[in-house]
Structure formats: structure tokens, C-alpha cells
Symmetry: C2
Subunit: 201 residues, 2 copies
């Protein structure tokens, strides 16, 4: 529905191209030269803007994180009858965003696979603010506010996992079955998500 605004600055165009290629082929599979040529500039222009491949990758993750946070913020401006509804609404919003931006999702799943031990350890993790924000939203639900924080955080984490996995699966399943069948599945998912999200601790 709401298309991602087309990138304007060179930096934004680099990030968009890098995101697509990192998502498709992974960190090692995507080369600096390839990313730069996608934009129509040279590899050295890319290095000029980001310093190194690692930093470019970091910038891409930051970009995704910011967009997710922005989505949550919009979600919080809407009024909901109660806390549980607000939480479910936020998740469904995230879900819609997820299937509209498959590259972001793919990249996040890769991040999960690549940085198993390294990344999530400290607070220095790109998705941490997003996770925290969702956790606080869940904490407003009376059924959850008495629980411990890790319990809420894992609930959030698992729900995000369900969303991501479903989004990725849909792409693969489309290749295996008829589009019509998948469309039906996708239509039913938000309701299923609501059931999962609304379940008690």
C-alpha cells in the first residue's frame, strides 16, 4: 500500500542497493563493486561514504532498525481500547510492513543466523531499541505487567519470529504451490497472529 519513498541522496541509494544485495546473497556473497555498480557509481565512491564494508553493513542494519521504530511510533499515536489491543495492533502493523519489505525481513533473518554469539550479547545491538519498545508496550497489559521482563521479551521475540518466518515461508511456498493457495494463507495470518499475541503468559 504505502510504498517506501524512493531514495534521493547518494547515501540513501547506496543503502537501498546494499540492502537488496545483502539480503539476496548475504554479507560475503555481496561485493562492494557490485553494490556500487547497481547505483551507477564506482566502488571507491561507496567506500568514500561508508569507510568499509562492515560499516556499510552496519548502516544498512541501522536503517532497518530506524524504519521499524518509526513504524512503532506511528502505531502508538493510534488510540486502542486497551493495552492488549494496542500490542496486537502494533504487531499486525509490523506484519504488514514485513511482507511489504521482504528484503528487510530476509536480512534480519540472516543477521540471526550470522551473528549468533557475537551480536546480541551487549546492548550494542541494532534491534535492541525496537525490541525494548515492544516489550514496554506489552508491559502495559495487566496480564503481563506482573511477569518478569525476560518473560515478556521472549514472548515478543518469538512473535517476531513467527512473523518473519511466515513471511519468508510464503515466498518459498509460492514457488511450490499455486499463488491462490498462498494468498488464502496470508489472509488468515493476521488473525492467527492476534491469537498468538493475545495469549496469556
Amino acid at each position: 500500500m504505502k510504498p517506501e519513498p524512493a531514495p534521493t541522496t547518494t547515501r540513501e541509494r547506496f543503502i537501498a542497493a546494499a540492502k537488496a544485495l545483502f539480503a539476496e546473497r548475504g554479507f560475503y556473497g555481496a561485493s562492494m563493486d557490485q553494490i556500487a555498480r547497481e547505483v551507477g557509481l564506482t566502488k571507491q565512491a561507496l567506500i568514500h561514504h561508508f569507510g568499509s564494508k562492515e560499516k556499510l553493513y552496519g548502516a544498512v542494519l541501522s536503517d532497518i532498525s530506524e524504519r521499524l521504530l518509526a513504524e512503532l511510533e506511528e502505531s502508538e499515536h493510534q488510540v486502542a481500547p486497551d493495552a492488549a489491543e494496542a500490542f496486537i495492533g502494533a504487531l499486525q502493523r509490523i506484519y504488514r510492513r514485513t511482507i511489504e519489505n521482504p528484503a528487510d525481513t530476509q536480512l534480519l533473518m540472516r543477521e540471526l543466523l550470522d551473528n549468533r554469539q557475537r551480536a546480541p550479547k551487549a546492548g550494542s545491538w541494532y534491534l535492541r531499541p525496537f525490541l525494548d519498545r515492544l516489550e514496554r508496550l506489552l508491559a502495559r497489559d495487566p496480564r503481563w505487567e506482573t511477569e518478569k521482563k525476560p518473560a515478556r521479551e521472549t514472548h515478543v521475540y518469538q512473535l517476531l519470529g513467527a512473523i518473519n518466518y511466515f513471511a519468508i515461508s510464503a515466498e518459498t511456498l509460492k514457488a511450490m504451490y499455486s499463488n491462490r493457495h498462498i494468498a488464502a494463507m496470508q489472509k488468515g495470518f493476521p488473525a492467527r497472529l492476534a491469537r498468538l499475541a493475545g495469549s496469556s503468559p
Copy 2:
């Protein structure tokens, strides 16, 4: 509990090393030289056995597929009170296998991300026989046998997704929280899986 038998032949040792490295760094991130040195031989010995990197990767996937199928076969030898129970039992067996062999799981998730357009198109997909077998097992359940085959197959697919995602998440969550907390979560998962698997169409 049941440790994977140590690889004996050179070919098996190559496959084991390749599996670990492909799982950890992805197809492009793992190099032939690295894999060979892990075994203590040269890159050319590796190429001698498998022909090319692509074929080596294929051999690794085949290996995983065979092991999964073998697990299912053992599962079918056990008697269960009814079809639904048998299906749940098989899934729980797969689950146990999954957390005991995290490298296999990681690699399968990567495969899901990498081959979106390329691989699953035809029936020439490595996991297809495994998926089919599970689907047929589910078809014995009276509540499912009247459903269409794609419905059963997506049910199976989603359940496997839940297992895989949970296994991967557990690794990441371990880095974020206390081991004790994660252990409690893991203990509860088989029951949760049974509830998911046993649900009606």
C-alpha cells in the same frame, strides 16, 4: 543423547567439515581451502571428491535430508495409539534431533533464505521427500485426510518452521539472558509443539 557417529571415510569427514562451515558462514563465506584444511587435506583433494563447490554443497544438503528421513523411518517403527499421536511423536522426534544438531538447522534456514527463487521450484528439492513423508503421516489422521494435500503440506511446513525458528532463537536468547531461563523455555516447547501439531485444520 544419541551423538552423531564420528565420520570415518574421507568423504564423510569432508561433508562434516563443510556442513559446519556452510552453516556458520554461508555458501559464499565458506571457502574450499578452509574446508579442506579443517580435515587436514588440500583443496584439490576436496575437489577430487566432489567436483565443485556447488556439488559439495549439494552433497551436504543430501546428507542432512537422508538423516532426517532416517529419523522419520525410526519414528514409524514405533507403535502409537492413533494417527494423530504418531504425527505428534514424529515431530517431537524431529525437534529433539534439531536441537541436538544445530548446524543442520542453521544450514536449512540458510537454504530457505538463499534459494527463494532458484531451488524449490521443481520437485528437485532436497527436502521434498522428507516433507512428503510427513505429509503422508498427517494424512492418516481422520481430521486431515479429507483435506487437500496443499493444506496438509503447509501445516507440516509451518510446524517445521516453528521448530527451526525456536531452535535458532534459543541460541540467540542464550546470549541475551540466563541459561536457566532458556532451559525452562526449552523444556516447555515439546508440549507447545504438541498443541500446535494437534490442532485441527
